[in-house]
């Protein structure tokens, strides 16, 4: 127990926790969107994240000619390179997410199979994706390249607002604002909310269920891909097994906030990120996961539906 750390490094811990938490929040969206519509834990979302990180790496190495340790880019090229990495990571992740839906869920859903059957087939897909990338990369962890020089914008009380940290905070917020508008204001967003309220009734209202489900997987894939890009920018390394821990953390974040709820994923992610940072500073990083789960159990005991309640449709307010 080392509480003095909190006093001395509070601003820094807060900043790091926020950046990490918002990355979690983006991945948590992948879980929460799918859960809202299908009432299923999308087990393969962690591998969507993993493939996103490798997509970023691939673009860095093959399109931008960057390798680990090479000089960061300068000038306007930085913006171009970052955008290229972000977009390709998002698109590849969305594509994989759709593939997951097709392979793991669609046939089983058509047969009216029980939830556990879908869970196992999703686990199967996630094993296949993981092992496939493991084969391609020779099971070695890879270091990413540095696209932009990590200069410090400003510093407050020991909290170093580096450019990548600031990016990891601003980009998720932008994505959340856009997504929230999409889900609440547009026709497609309405159809997502309708399906999450009642699949039967939305069918009767003429909503194409399969299209809506594919759409939610695409959205989940896009946000997870963005998270993968940010992860590569901030932490600059990946491995074929990286999805597992991220998946558990993000799913915990989604549950903490109230699964199926967009704002729940957002605040749950932030809460989890802060919790992890402070817990590792105070108790030691090896007890981080234990603290997180104990807090989760306590939260669920007093608020059984998570901090912000369930279901996508509640984002209306």
């Amino acid at each position: 127990m080392n509480f003095s750390v909190v006093a001395t490094e509070f601003p820094s811990l807060l900043l790091q926790g926020l950046a990490l938490g918002l990355i979690y929040a983006l991945v948590a969206l992948g879980y929460t969107m799918v859960y809202g519509v299908l009432r299923l834990i999308n087990f393969a979302n962690s591998e969507v994240f993993m493939i996103g990180t490798f997509a970023t790496l691939y673009v860095q190495v093959n399109f931008l000619g960057l390798t680990n340790g090479s000089e960061p880019l300068r000038g306007f090229k930085v913006v171009y390179a970052l955008l290229l990495c972000l977009v390709s990571s998002m698109l590849v992740s969305a594509f994989v997410a759709v593939l997951v839906e097709l392979v793991a869920y669609r046939r089983l859903r058509a047969k009216g199979a029980n939830r556990l059957a879908s869970l196992i087939s999703a686990i199967g897909v996630s094993i296949v994706l993981m092992e496939w990338v493991g084969l391609l990369t020779g099971s070695r962890p890879r270091s990413g390249a540095r696209i932009l020089e990590k200069w410090s914008i400003f510093e407050i009380g020991g909290a170093n607002f580096r450019i990548d940290t600031v990016m990891a905070i601003i980009l998720p917020i932008i994505i959340f604002v856009i997504l929230n508008r999409f889900v609440t204001k547009t026709r497609l967003g309405k159809s997502i909310r309708a399906v999450s309220m009642s699949e039967e009734n939305s069918k009767l209202m003429g909503i194409n269920i399969n299209r809506v489900i594919t759409l939610t997987f695409i959205i989940g894939g896009l946000t997870t891909g963005a998270a993968a890009f940010l992860f590569m920018t901030v932490y600059e390394n990946t491995a074929f097994t990286i999805g597992f821990n991220m998946g558990i953390a993000a799913f915990t974040a989604a549950v903490l906030g109230g699964i199926g709820n967009l704002r729940g994923a957002f605040y749950g992610g932030i809460a989890l990120g802060l919790l992890e940072q402070f817990a590792s500073a105070v108790i030691g990083s090896e007890w981080k996961a234990v603290t997180v789960f104990v807090v989760l159990v306590l939260v669920l005991l007093f608020k059984p539906n998570g901090l912000f309640g369930e279901a996508v449709q509640q984002t209306r307010t």
């Binding site: 089983l108 869970l119 199967g124 996961a289």
Partner: protein
């Protein structure tokens, strides 16, 4: 058409039909025959016609104990939780780990032998089942899943970070159990471990069958079908859910004790989340809620990765593909549970 008939064929109901047509002596003979066949399994690799069962890389008899025997035992234990009362447990490996560590600590520090620590290991697993279950079982399905998952991770992390469990190196030098009934237990006689596991499996099957026809079994079935209705009918749902959890935990704990005394060295990375998932996969793959399906599923899913070990690199990939394809072809598992709902529908007409 023929294909779909074949795919939807319910071997469980077919078997149950034959079974109900038999009289008592025939049933006893059949059961004894089944036990005898499973007792002969360790010899299958040396015997000509069944030598295809041999696992090319790992030792066949060792594979028969772990993973096959252990997985069957744990899948049966998990089946009480997932199959009978319909609770999704993603951290079942925790109970296995608790059993294993209990034996490892008791034997290396206090000199207990495996038979003495078996009940203690089960007790500790059951107590941890109560500690976890009391808060967790008040919650609905998917929240239970994440909390059990967390519990599994907590047990592993605690074992990784405290001194008495030896940290990441684990505990070496766990003694084999002393001989019993003329059976010796050491590295040369892996076969005898198989008989212990087999005995535990038979005991578990017997226990589950007794529970199923009695009050707890009916309560579990009611909870699984609709928890609210079960509560309205006067079933104390929390107590019965807790019971299924604790009994499942006891089976896991027993498996853990035997496992520790067999492998002699345990370390935290044997108790990863992946194993929990694998055991859940065994249950779902074979047929949730049906003992025979679960046994078949566990035996297959434990055996296949060992059989294809020569694939070294693509082994897990093939395993994942098998999971996907099988679940798509037979979503209810290889041997689905009895179609109770159908029977009640007929009765109501």
């Amino acid at each position: 058409m023929i294909m779909s008939k074949f795919l939807n064929f319910n071997l469980r109901d077919f078997g149950a039909g034959i079974w109900s047509g038999w009289n008592r002596p025939t049933r006893v003979i059949f059961v004894l025959l089944c036990i005898a066949v499973s007792g002969l399994l360790p010899f299958a690799a040396e015997f000509g016609p069944t030598s295809f069962l041999n696992t090319p890389v790992a030792s066949y008899i060792d594979v028969l104990v772990y993973p096959i025997g252990m997985f069957v035992l744990m899948a049966l234990g998990l089946n009480i939780v997932v199959g009978k009362s319909g609770l999704l447990d993603l951290g079942y490996i925790a109970f296995f780990a608790i059993g294993a560590y209990t034996h490892a600590i008791l034997s290396t520090l206090y000199g207990w032998n495996a038979w003495e620590s078996l009940p203690i290991g089960m007790l500790f697993a059951m107590v941890s089942g109560v500690v976890l279950g009391l808060p967790a079982l008040r919650l609905r399905g998917d929240y239970l899943a994440i909390i059990t998952l967390g519990f599994g991770e907590i047990v592993r992390i605690v074992a990784l970070n405290i001194e008495v469990t030896g940290g990441p190196n684990g505990i070496p030098g766990i003694p084999n159990p002393p001989g019993i009934l003329g059976l010796e237990f050491n590295l040369e006689y892996s076969r005898n471990f198989y008989y212990i596991v087999l005995a535990l499996i038979l005991l578990t099957i017997w226990m589950i069958r007794r529970f199923t026809v009695r009050r707890p079994g009916r309560a579990w079935e009611a909870i699984r079908q609709d928890e609210d209705v079960a509560a309205l009918m006067g079933v104390n749902t929390l107590v019965y859910k807790l019971w299924s959890f604790v009994i499942g935990a006891a089976v896991g704990g027993a498996a853990g004790v035997i496992f520790a005394s067999k492998v002699m060295v345990i370390s935290p990375d044997m108790f990863k989340f992946e194993v929990s998932i694998l055991i859940l996969a065994c249950v779902v793959f074979g047929g949730i809620g049906n003992i025979w399906g679960v046994i078949l599923g566990a035996a297959l899913l434990a055996y296949i990765p060992e059989r294809i070990r020569f694939l070294t690199e693509t082994r897990q990939l093939v395993f994942g593909l098998v999971l996907i394809i099988m679940m798509n072809i037979r979503p209810d598992g290889l041997l689905p549970r009895k179609k109770r709902e159908k029977i009640t529908q007929k009765g109501s007409k």
